[in-house]
């Protein structure tokens, strides 16, 4: 257990020591999104009755920041350690694959939630928000961060170079988050794209998270939870298997 807590602590310290880049910068970016999109679309788009567009946008931006930063944390930590060679410091000790998985993912969850909380604090002033079902907010934020932390872990294990990791981030994570309904409800899409959206697990994370605020969503939160939880289980089993076999880590 000390091995796990030490690695977790180290992973948290790693991003905390460069908090300007890992916490403050993404909060500022999310605020800019809110100011610009909120300003441009406020008068033109209303997704749910009685909910202003800016209010609709805030939970989406919060969740998007949680997801992107959770992914960035584990993936950048691993690729940096691999490239600089200091990954041996965690490969030589008797850390089990469970401890490695737990520490990397939990630290990603912490960073994701810290950025998410920061984005919420700076954007909540711009609209009146309700908290219809706070438990769903917490559950989806946690699960979403854990999923992206796990995806970052898998990407970090798989990638051998920074550009491979960037490709993973730019061609998979970014499109999946942007097309998940952060800025719109999928009901505003043509039927074909609505169907496509239902195959995007990120859609359920954001939709479920948003339900926690407004008590309204495109699909029921229970359905979203089942899908998101199942997705996490699949990814977690894959990541643990990769760590156990030493794929690309122990040659």
């Amino acid at each position: 257990m000390i091995g796990f807590t030490t690695l977790f602590h180290k992973e948290v310290l790693r991003f905390w020591k460069v908090a300007t880049q890992t916490i403050t910068a993404p909060i500022l970016t999310a605020m800019l999104y809110l100011l610009i999109f909120g300003h441009v679309l406020e008068a033109h788009v209303q997704v749910y009755p009685d909910v202003r567009y800016t209010a609709f946008l805030i939970p989406g931006l919060v969740m998007m920041s949680v997801l992107q930063n959770a992914f960035a944390n584990s993936s950048s930590s691993l690729i940096q350690s691999k490239i600089t060679g200091n990954l041996v410091f965690v490969l030589l000790p008797p850390l089990s694959h469970w401890e490695l998985f737990g520490a990397y993912v939990l630290a990603s969850v912490v960073r994701g939630l810290m950025v998410g909380a920061g984005v919420f604090l700076v954007t909540a002033w711009f609209a009146e928000l309700s908290f219809a079902a706070p438990w769903w907010i917490a559950i989806f934020a946690l699960l979403g961060a854990a999923i992206l932390g796990t995806m970052g872990l898998i990407a970090g294990i798989w990638a051998e170079k920074f550009d491979q990791l960037a490709a993973f981030q730019n061609f998979l994570i970014m499109p999946a988050t942007f097309l998940s309904g952060v800025f719109y409800s999928i009901h505003s899409l043509p039927p074909f794209w609505q169907t496509v959206s239902h195959f995007n697990p990120f859609f359920y994370m954001i939709d479920g998270f948003r339900y926690g605020f407004f008590g309204q969503s495109d699909v029921s939160p229970a359905t979203s939870f089942t899908i998101v939880a199942a997705f996490f289980m699949v990814l977690a089993s894959l990541a643990i298997r990769l760590l156990k076999t030493g794929y690309k880590l122990r040659h």
């Binding site: 091995g3 030490t6 600089t84 200091n86 410091f89 965690v90 490969l91 008797p94 122990r250 040659h251």
Partner: protein
């Protein structure tokens, strides 16, 4: 039970056979040298011992604990100083050592961390970020990291490559002390005089195979007697003496020859033979054979 038991370890990287069935045992308390030219498989073998790499066949156990099946127990008993100069730029020396202790399940290890730092002359760098350290200092931190959990078996992969005399002396003083206190040491190095001075037993690897495994003194005795080193101002080595040359490349170039002599009485006939051939000696020394001569002879013999 052996401190380190290596049985028929094989490792292949695509078409390259890095290790072709290596077997050896290192007993508790030994100071063991693992020597061989670049590419002989030393680092591959150490990676397999450390669990950084998996053997294709064979097994490795540390104090009876298999490094794959029982990796947690095996790794608790092993400290490895890697060859590459790696560091984590986010942390200071003390943070690095505390974290490394934690990975091995140790809390409140500051007393030992302070002792290790003092022995490696790192104390005044304790709160310096590892990024700001010189190469030699980074090497000391790597050694300290390998020792935080007081491992009974310590593996050092070329720890003195490219480091100054002062660090070498500090390091060997500390490692020798740990060896006297019962720690088993496995060392790879290209400095053969270091291996000769420190190791009580040596394995020589070539192309992934053990080509010699014996006590250091027995290995040196393989080259019985001494060596007569002559530098000729004029003339060349007569045919009759060429069989005595211990470094064959000397026959191809230069005017310096190292000749094997079993006893001192062998020297006079050699000098007579040189005189007869019209050679003029510029310089001459009688030397004891050392590990380097044995190393060269064994490696040449295995061609």
């Amino acid at each position: 039970m052996a401190a380190l038991q290596i049985v028929n370890v094989e490792k292949r990287y695509k078409s390259l056979q890095a290790l072709g069935g290596v077997s050896l045992a290192v007993e508790s308390g030994e100071f063991f040298g693992l020597l061989g030219p670049n590419g002989a498989g030393k680092t591959t073998l150490i990676s397999i011992i450390a669990g950084l790499s998996r053997a294709d066949a064979g097994s490795v156990a540390i104090h009876g604990h298999d490094v794959v099946r029982d990796y947690r127990e095996a790794r608790r008993r092993l400290g490895v100083v890697p060859q590459e100069l790696v560091f984590d730029p986010f942390f200071t020396v003390r943070e690095t050592l505390r974290m490394q202790s934690g990975y091995f399940g140790l809390k409140n290890n500051d007393k030992w961390i302070d002792e290790v730092m003092a022995n490696l002359d790192l104390t005044n760098k304790a709160d310096t970020n590892t990024r700001a350290l010189s190469g030699g200092m980074k090497r000391r931190v790597l050694v300290a990291q390998a020792l935080v959990h007081k491992p009974p078996v310590i593996v050092l992969d070329e720890p003195t490559a490219g480091v100054d005399v002062e660090l070498r002396q500090t390091l060997w003083k500390f490692i020798s002390r740990l060896n006297r206190e019962g720690h088993t040491i496995v060392l790879t190095t290209h400095y053969l005089e270091e291996a000769q001075a420190l190791c009580n037993r040596i394995a020589m690897l070539k192309s992934g195979k053990v080509v010699a495994l014996d006590s250091t003194s027995a290995l040196i005795k393989r080259i019985s007697g001494s060596q007569l080193v002559v530098r000729l101002a004029k003339g060349s080595l007569p045919e009759g003496l060429k069989a005595l040359v211990s470094h064959p490349d000397e026959l191809v170039s230069g005017n310096k020859y190292t000749l094997r002599v079993t006893e001192y009485t062998d020297v006079e006939p050699i000098l007579a033979s040189l005189r007869q051939a019209g050679a003029v000696i510029e310089d001459m020394q009688l030397q004891q054979a050392d590990l380097e001569d044995v190393f060269i002879q064994i490696m040449e013999g295995e061609k």
